[in-house]
């Protein structure tokens, strides 16, 4: 007698489409919306038809491979923290999520779906409600961490399919409200937290004043738009809006290392929401702002502050989205710090970081960005007790806040539920501090720590380097001379 498998499906597909912000943007005549760079939902227009048309036009070779190569072996299921935390819910497996777009592809593009649709489970969306359910799956049930991709024997890139589907839906305005809001802010203000130029400059001035007071010299600066610098530093807007200490930390290190550096007045946001919303147009816009700033200031190198999606977008993907030929080296600030340590340009005392520290590899830095060893080299130099979590490196579990989930409040309960996997991983290290190179991960991990009552704090690499930094008696004022 066949035993029925226990199935407990999450209710995530039923989250309705909220259009309050979109309606307001229409009423306000928001420029990016009017000019068609940003899209809003239009009820009653043939959204399904448009969706299928876009699908046909945007299919690329790599997408087609991921659509067709899946043999439904189920290995991806064991890699996904959504499924590991909810093993009775088959809708949490990567293969199920990918199948939601795959079945549409099979129905409309692949010949098998047109000839024997029932055999390959081909199916077409029929209403806007179907598209909304698809939105909930690709935005709410997946953090696009790519752990499944890494473990797929056929090379199916589920996260690529998820991002592709998000892009199609974004073109129709069928997106969670948080996604619309952040996209709108990034289009309108050039940064994803709507920080004004005035606030940007005043915050930097404030940090500079504090640094000068601290180090007792007016030679330490936070320069803006200084031409012919060696390093163009780019930020996560969170650093301006919430905690500018990281900017002060970077400036202090640059000063002691004698670096000729500058921030740009425009094009300083490296975070690039286009990676999460699937919108290559937005991705290209933000990335291009950064590249053009570097060109305008004749910088020799672009350095990216600690941010996961910023790293992947600015270092790797942005050049493709923007169609911009890369001319300058682009690196993470952690690589820069590693170089300063190796070359002896900064000195550190690891005894100052005495508490046990573990490192959380961010998905977009380790797995999708190929930066694994360098942060560890830096941490071993600045910490007395560094310990790995398991798994780590490219096999690490997502902080659970990735893929833009932190901007989508409606998916939070599910996100925190499946964060159980991450909580167990963190607890097992016995560390008091978890260090990460990504602002997104800071908030993602803080949510996990708070929700599961862990006794840990989240820090960044720059924080630990700054704590251990030995400030020379006479700081090397070789920071490029007067502005």
């Amino acid at each position: 007698m066949k035993k029925r498998m226990k199935v407990a499906v999450s209710g995530i597909v039923d989250v309705p489409l909220e259009t309050k912000s979109q309606d307001k943007a229409r009423r306000d005549g928001t420029a990016s919306l009017k000019e068609g760079r940003l899209k809003a939902y239009e009820a009653g227009s043939d959204n399904v038809g448009k969706f299928l048309g876009l699908l046909g036009r945007r299919i690329s070779r790599s997408l087609a491979v991921s659509m067709t190569a899946c043999v439904h072996c189920g290995m991806c299921a064991e890699s996904c923290h959504y499924f590991l935390a909810r093993p009775d819910d088959p809708t949490m497996t990567p293969v199920y999520k990918a199948d939601q777009i795959r079945r549409i592809f099979k129905r409309h593009i692949d010949w098998t779906g047109r000839v024997v649709p029932w055999w390959v489970h081909a199916e077409s969306p029929r209403t806007d409600e179907d598209l909304n359910r698809l939105k909930n799956i690709v935005f709410g049930a997946c953090s696009a961490c790519r752990r499944c991709t890494l473990n797929c024997p056929m090379g199916v890139d589920t996260a690529l399919l998820v991002r592709f589907t998000r892009g199609l839906l974004a073109e129709l305005g069928i997106v969670p409200e948080g996604v619309f809001n952040v996209s709108r802010d990034e289009w309108e203000t050039g940064n994803q937290m709507a920080v004004t130029e005035e606030d940007f400059l005043e915050t930097l001035q404030w940090m500079q004043d504090e640094l000068q007071a601290e180090l007792g010299t007016s030679e330490v600066e936070i320069p803006v738009d200084r031409p012919d610098c060696d390093v163009l530093y780019t930020l996560n807007p969170r650093e301006i809006k919430f905690d500018p200490r990281s900017i002060a930390n970077a400036a202090r290190v640059f000063h002691i290392a004698g670096e000729r550096w500058s921030l740009p007045k425009w094009g300083w946001d490296q975070t690039n929401f286009g990676l999460f919303s699937g919108d290559d147009r937005l991705g290209g816009y933000v990335a291009r702002n950064v590249y053009e700033a570097a060109e305008r200031l004749r910088a020799k190198k672009i350095v990216i502050s600690e941010c996961g999606h910023g790293y992947r977008s600015t270092r790797w993907e942005g050049y493709n989205w923007a169609g911009y030929a890369q001319k300058l080296p682009t690196e993470s600030v952690v690589v820069t710090l590693g170089r300063y340590l190796r070359e002896g340009r900064i000195r550190v005392d690891p005894a100052r970081n005495a508490e046990p520290v573990t490192f959380h590899d961010s998905c977009n830095i380790a797995r999708s960005g190929d930066l694994v060893e360098e942060p560890r080299r830096v941490l071993r130099a600045v910490c007395a007790d560094f310990r790995e979590m398991h798994p780590n490196g490219r096999e690490n579990f997502c902080c659970t806040g990735g893929g833009g989930l932190l901007s989508m409040a409606e998916y939070r309960p599910l996100r925190l539920e499946v964060a159980k996997i991450k909580a167990e991983q963190l607890k097992a290290t016995g560390a008091k501090l978890v260090c990460t190179m990504c602002h997104n991960c800071i908030d993602g991990l803080n949510d996990v720590i708070k929700h599961y009552g862990l006794d840990m704090k989240v820090v960044q690499v720059l924080d630990l380097v700054s704590s251990a930094l030995v400030i020379p008696k006479r700081p090397s004022g070789a920071a490029g001379g007067a502005r």
């Binding site: 809006k241 975070t271 999460f276 939070r412 908030d443």
Partner: protein, 106 residues
Amino acid sequence: MPIIAQDDKKVEVNEEGFLARPEEWDEQTARILAKAEEGLEEMTAEHWAVVRYIRNYYVEKGLAPMVRKICQTTGLPLKQIYELFPSGPAKGACKVAGLPKPDGCV
């Protein structure tokens, strides 16, 4: 939406712990949010200086103030703001002041 009840007051918050209807804030709500969301058993004069400044700014301008303005007006260094509100100015202090959640990947 989840409801936090304390004494005889009920406060409705969204999934992230932010006040569901920002216009319904009062000082008792602030105390309730501070305890439930930030783990603060009581609010000191410094807590109140920060919260009142943020609230007034929001009522006047409809936005959350930049952290720099919070520090300058209250005279508290940024480090102390983080000590007073463990979740920081945006997720901690602004939440207690009854502001809606800030946009962005945070």
